[in-house]
Structure formats: structure tokens, C-alpha cells
């Protein structure tokens, strides 16, 4: 299956030449970003056309691109203040709810789907960005691949992406009555509430978190991957 990637990219470009799609081919795989308006149309074609034949939807997940590519400890220049700079960042996991970021970022939320064709033995990552106009709405793929049911519920639960047409869009992984979407990058790692048994009330109660955010290693970005030859022989998958 090592050589399918080029052919698949070509087929995709030919099939969807009239749509505004971005195809990326890398040794790691083929990915295809489509506008949200053509989400259902593209998915249906990918399942039904013989050239693609993606009969299985293996996975669907949300992605939050807030803080993508932002280090806590710049490494592009030398410093005399040392590592202690690194512990003051407000990167992933190092802030509480009141310290969260509040700016709006374009193209923040995406939905990524992993498709698999059993007959053609090929994979494809299909992506679309959710339009953010008050509500994140993406059409549901449930009529095309019924197996995405719980995966869409999960993306709704964790990221707050609403899948239009989903018959049963409830929370799935978080607690009953949970508030917020915990996998968003502006949701603190420590959470907002904690649970304990109240001796006086004789029942379990919720209270604001008492722990402090604590992440030891700062996020640093180094583009010195010179040692890595990304075009070197990959495994054949």
C-alpha cells in the first residue's frame, strides 16, 4: 500500500477540482481539508465512488487550534535569565479558569475524520474547520457512516461542536450536569469543580477546585529538526 498516496491525491484533486479543497500528501499520509459547505457532499462521494471506496469511518475528533505554534519559552535567541523564565508561561495546563485566554481566533476549531477503505487498503484524513459565528455547527456524517454516532457525541462533549442532523447529541464522557467543554485549549487542566463527600450533608457535593495548576516542563518550539530526514524511507503504511 506504499504507493497509493500519490494516486489518491491525484484522484482527489481530479474529483473535487471545482471545490475549494486543500490536499496534503506527506510520508505520514494524505489529508484533505474541505470547506464546511461541501462536508457532506465530499464524504458521500468518498464513500460511494469506486476510486475511493472509503467504507469505514475509523475515527472522528475535534481539534482546537488556539495557541498552535506558540511557545512559552522563546528559543530563537540567547538569554541570561535562564530556565526560570520557562515556569511563568500560561501554556497548556498552566492556567486556571480566571486566567484563561479570551481572544477570538479565526479557524479555531476543526473536525478531523480518519477514513479507511478495506477494499483499496488506503487511508485518508478528512478535515473541515467549523465556522465560528456564536455556534460551531458542522453537518453530521451519521447518515453516511452510522459508526460516527458516539465519536460526534464525544467531539460535541469535549469541544462543543454541534453536529447538525445528529439524532442524539448528548454529552458522553463527562459527568452528568458538567459545564463547559474540557478539551478546548482555554479550559484549565485542573478543571473548575471537584467532588467530595460532605460529612454534614451526608452526600457527595461539588466545590470549586482547590488544587493549583502545576505543569513542570514549559512548551518550547525548536525547529532544529536537522537530524531528521523526513523524506527517508518510511514504513509502508
Amino acid at each position: 500500500m506504499s504507493n497509493y498516496k500519490r494516486q489518491l491525491s491525484k484522484d482527489l484533486a481530479a474529483q473535487f477540482s471545482d471545490l475549494d479543497i486543500i490536499i496534503k500528501e506527506s510520508p505520514q499520509g494524505v489529508s484533505c481539508t474541505v470547506p464546511v459547505e461541501s462536508w457532506l457532499e465530499v464524504a458521500k462521494t468518498l464513500r460511494d465512488e469506486r476510486d475511493f471506496d472509503f467504507d469505514q469511518c475509523i475515527d472522528l475528533c475535534g481539534v482546537d487550534y488556539l495557541s498552535y505554534g506558540e511557545p512559552e519559552w522563546p528559543t530563537d535567541d540567547v538569554t541570561f535569565t535562564g530556565f526560570s523564565r520557562g515556569i511563568r508561561g500560561k501554556g497548556p495546563g498552566r492556567f486556571s479558569w480566571s486566567e484563561r485566554r479570551r481572544e477570538t481566533v479565526a479557524n479555531r476549531f476543526a473536525v478531523a475524520v480518519q477514513l479507511l477503505s478495506l477494499n483499496k487498503n488506503q487511508r485518508l484524513t478528512l478535515k473541515c474547520f467549523a465556522p465560528d459565528e456564536g455556534m460551531l455547527v458542522v453537518p453530521s456524517l451519521i447518515d453516511i457512516w452510522p459508526g460516527v454516532n458516539w465519536f460526534e457525541r464525544e467531539a460535541f462533549d469535549l469541544f462543543g461542536i454541534i453536529f447538525q442532523g445528529h439524532p442524539d447529541l448528548r454529552r458522553i464522557l463527562t459527568d452528568y450536569g458538567f459545564i463547559g467543554h474540557p478539551f478546548r485549549k482555554d479550559f484549565p487542566l485542573i478543571g473548575n469543580v471537584e467532588v467530595k463527600y460532605d460529612e454534614k450533608k451526608k452526600r457527595v457535593v461539588y466545590q470549586p477546585v482547590s488544587i493549583e495548576p502545576r505543569v513542570l516542563v514549559p512548551k518550547t518550539i525548536r525547529r532544529d529538526s536537522r537530524y531528521v530526514d523526513n523524506t527517508a524511507g518510511q514504513e509502508n503504511s
Binding site: 500500500m1 469505514q56 505554534g69 459527568d175 516542563v217 518550539i221 537530524y227 518510511q234 514504513e235
Partner: protein, 417 residues
Amino acid sequence: MAEIKNYTMNFGPQHPAAHGVLRLILEMDGEVITHADPHVGLLHRATEKLAETKPFNQSIGYMDRLDYVSMMCNEHAYVRAIEKLLGIEAPIRAQYIRTLFDEITRIRNHLMWIGTHGLDLGAMALFLYAFRERELCMDMYEAVSGARMHATYYRPGGVYRDLPEKMPKHKQSQWTKGEDLKQVNEWREGSLLDFIEAFANDFPSKIAEYRTLLEENRIWKQRTVGIGVVSPEQAKAWGFTGPMLRGSGVAWDLRKKQTYAAYDKVDFDVPVGVNGDCYDRYLVRMEEMSQSTRIIKQCVQWLKDNPGPVMADNHKVVPPKREAMKEDMESLIMHFKLFTEGYSVPAGEVYSAVEAPKGEFGVYMISDDSNKPFRVKLRAPGFAHLSAMNDMVKGHMLSDVVAVIGTMDIVFGEIDR
């Protein structure tokens, strides 16, 4: 006659047949299920979010705790995702060790599954026999990594260390002494590979024992034949993978189709079911254990014949040897950087999957050139399987729900993540 209406029943989360913390809301018409609504998430630990806050290597241990009965297979998917992004490859000996331990893991997982599945359906004795052999697999884990379950043995670039030359022996105790002690140490005189070989030679006879216990028991067949039938079309549509897909007659195995590690260099067959019921899936998994034994034997032979490195020689990713650090400043710096900051992975995204014992375990990883993954999505096979619960049990009796839960081989560590 009084009119009887449907009623709702709560199954779990504290129920021995719920395999963990599954809460099922069952709508019943008499003893027939009209609707099943599984509530999951009681074991949700936000592993994916935790991984975003740590350097890549620090999350390997979390992978063990996802599907906590097939630990090393989870590690394998995660480690391969990083290796693909970095564009490095493990040395061939490490690939064979990974293959060997993936298969030991498969046997471990299936032993756990057959034990509990049998227990749920009333076959008490089998559980004890299955756990006897599972204990030996735990000893293999312990010998190689120091931990019986959560090994953290696979690393980007290879495996943590080479296989030990000596298999640890049982010590004399109040309960094990004299002839007993000799018997439990019988296979442990040589290296770990000798121990694994002795196990692999003996194990087919054990599989035959399990099969005798179950297949010659009419209750077992009454409880599994024709229960939870899934057609190949349904299995594909619902995103089934692994034995759940193969039980329905679809010959799909990532080890063959999208091969990884050393699976293309060993000889094995992929068993496929016909009817797609619980009994066929049972047969598929039993045969998988025999095939795993075959793979293990081949790997043991190869590993005995071919010594070599088990870690890539790339100290930007892999820590240098301790001796080198004493003399070589460069090694000391690399060691310091690796353990304080970790390595940076080139920006990009990758989906890497392995054929875990339960099905396709995948890791979707996005990196932004930093020392922590930007997003990790863990694709657990059990999540897709359990989502089809309602369709699989509708119209069945209450007691069949237990058979269906068992046949799905559910573990909540991976479903709730």
C-alpha cells in the same frame, strides 16, 4: 389480564458482568430488550488532554493505562506515531521484540477475555485456568520491564532495554517449597527467551484444554451460538475492527494489510468467522491465540540468532548510554536536554494504528514543532464496538446482554480514556 408496560432497568455501573464501570439503561418488554442506552465516561481521565501538557516521552506510561489488559499494544501505536513524525525507525531487533511482546500481549488479553467471558456465562473453572497462564505472561512483562502490567517498555527509537539474560526465579516460601518450587522454576533456568519458548511450546495444549471445557459444554453453545449476530455490512458501517470485524467474515488484519514492526517477516494466518455471532468471535479469538503462539516461536528463534542494538543510535531522541555521559560532554548535554525539555517533533499530523487485541488502536497526533504534542486523539476499538450496543442487543433477552458485553471484549480504560 392487567396490561404490562415496558419498564426501565439500570444495569451497572457496579455489576460484575459490566466489565468495569458500564452503566446500561435497559428498556425492557418483559425479559426482552427494546432499547439499550450505555452510559460511559465514568472512568474518563482526560488522558489526551494530559498528554498535551507533557513532553512526548512522559505520556508513554499513560498509554499502558488505557486498555489495561493489553498495555504494550497501546504503547506501540503511540510510539509509532512519534517515530513517523520524526522519521526515525527502530532497529530490526527492536522490531522483533515489539512483535514478540505484541503477541504476548494478545495472548494475555485473550486469556483475560476468555476467563471473564466464561465467568459471565457460567463457566467458573475456566477463569482459574486462564489466569494461571496469564500469570506467566505477567512474569514475562516483569522480566523485561520490571512491571507486571504497566510496562512503559516501548520508546520512540526502539525499546527501553534488551531482553534479560536471566529469567528471575521464584524463591522458597511457606507455600512454595521442595518439589513445588522445583516445578515452578522448571522453565526459569535459562534466559527470558528460553522461558517464553517453553511457554509457547506448552501453550497449545492449554488452548486445547480451554476448548474442551467450553465447546463440549452445551450451555456454552446455547449461550453464544446465534447471539449478537452482526452482518459484514453492519460491522463495516459501525466501524468495527479486529475480531469483531473478522468474526463477521471480513478478512481484515492490520498486521497483514498495513504491516508494521516485523509482522511481514513472520508467518501466520488470520482466522475469519462465518456467522458473525458470539460463538464465531469466540472461535476467532481462540485461533488467534494459537497463531500468536506461532509468531512468538518464530520471534524467539530470530532473537536468539540475531543479537544487536535495540535502540536507534540518535541521541537527539534517545538518551545516550550512562558510560558515555561520564566522558563525553556532548552526551551529557543531550541527556540533560532530553530529560528537562524533551525532543521537539517536526510540525505535522499523523495517524498511526496497530492491530491491538481488541481491534484497531489508533493515535492521531498533531505536532507544532514543540516538545509536547499539540493534540493527541486516541482511537479505542472498544468505543466503536460499544456504540453499536443498542443495535446488537435489541430483541435479545436480558441474559444475552451479558454475552454481548463479553463478546465485545470491553475494557473501560480505553473507552473512557
